[in-house]
Amino acid sequence: MKIEVRGLTKKFGSGTAVGDVSFVVHEGELLGLLGPSGSGKTTVLRLIAGLEVPTAGDIFIDGKRVNDLTVQERNIGFVFQHYALFKHLTVFDNIAFGLKIKKWSRRDSEQRVQELLGLMSLVGLGGRYPHQLSGGQRQRVAIARALAPRPAVLLMDEPFGAVDAKVRQELREWLIRLHTDLNVTSLFVTHDQEEAMEVSGRIIVFSKGKLEQAGSPADVYEEPATEFVARFIGSMNIVEGVVQREQVQVGSLEFPAPGFADGQKLQVGFRPYYLKVAEDPTRYRQQAKLRHIYFLGVAYRLEIETPDGLILRSRMNKEEFRRCRFTVGQAVSFAVTHFRILPQEGMASPHGTETSRPLTGPLTP
């Protein structure tokens, strides 16, 4: 079922947790709400569930305005960050809880619970109590419990927040499979951009109670609409300079900025893998000193410092790194091959205009 929120606003005392947010979750979609802690994303989820009352705005589930429906009447499944399993009930009774409340017959509810135990790889654990389960198992029980009464939508608050890294990876893959099988409209909240990218079909990025950008993981990554998104999603070098003769000047670096007026302050961003570094000081035009080498497992990250004192990050795959034989402190040359002129604070992205381009001319030999 489709979820839609329009102009959703929630104020707590004098603070605004959610400010005038509108978006749609399409039927059958798995959508991630991404933002740092305190960005209001959990509040949005609780507002949709009916656990909080909005200060303003409308919420629609399946085209019906649900503002005046209580949480009990909204027919949603909610998965809490810390599971919130009923400690005094067994796994079976936890999953059957909603069915009992909705007065399913004994046979139907038994069948439904068995079906979910199978679906969640929890077969044989029905008689256990929550404290006898691992973190990943508890999380799956929580999802099973939420899904049991066949809710119209599934809402999950940081569903993988409380399990360790390895289990988290398994749970992510498992959730994607589950969603493919069940196709229930799902909305989940996370502060982990990698998780949001991997799990969701579409991402909505939040900051300070405002919607920053909505789009596919690739869109949000490649075409960040705001400076916040650019900084928050993935890693990005961001430098600031003033336009002179259609060029942004950042120390000795120059970035073409056609169409921008002289004297305008602009921010330029580029991903670490678009920053090429060579040990040969004559390979690229720009000079810098290598400050740090970080081993990331699949790749290396180099941190360089330009003569102007800018600290920039570069990412390099293992083969390339081995060829170069870097040592910390040595002089290197570098070039930026792709960059973006970032939309200014509070300004929408100049959509449709090409701001990302391969850089030619001054920076490459």
Partner: protein
Amino acid sequence: MRRVLIGIVWFYFLVLLVGPILYMANQSFSQGIEAFWTEISRPEALHGFALTAEITGIVLVLNLFFGTMTALVLVRQQFWGRGLVSGVIDLPFAVSPVIAGFMLILLFGPDTLLGTFFGQARVKVLFALPAMILATLFVTFPFMVRELTPLLQTLGTEEEEAARTLGAGEWQVFLKVTLPALRWGMVYGATLTVARAIGEFGAVLVVSGNILLLTQTATLHIYQSYVDFNYVAANAVALTLLAVSFAILTILEIAKARAETTVAEAGAQ
């Protein structure tokens, strides 16, 4: 050194607990089991037991209800004066029961507003059951609240919210989620309440007037027998009360052990 420490503990235990109990038991039966039986089955003693049971029962029900409610309100609601209420709840622990009784005497005395009101309505509060219940409530009130407050704090509200998202109404949430989470706290609170109510003396003495066959509870009967040099009666009734308290504690421990093994066994399947 270790032996000395253990020895001190044993000595302390024997002198303070076992000794008096054995001596009391011995005195109870000093004139034979017949005399013991006569003393605890005479009408004054039986009336005392019945009155104590009545007060204890009523106080337990009231405490279960108001104690749970108070704990819920204190933990869950933000209101003006919350800190004050929370601090004052422990007052009965600090105030002598005699003072508690005396406060009731002042409050319901014939010259006060409340006293006049109940006087007009011809309801006898002082030197009657109502005042004795109030006095016992005063001294036992903190037990339930103090047992439940930490449990409610650890429980939080997420489980209750989960139940709501699954369609449970407020009563169902309370009965199926909140209450089960509190049950052991309630059992402990109830046990402490009962033990304290059975043993209450000072506050009840002040407000009851200690009228034979009317407002004389079991503990008051012990006191009266002692004052009247009827040591066998005092010891016999005291020993009986002691046995009841001991039985309650034992039942509690057995119930707790059984509940724990049930959970463990269910998990082992």
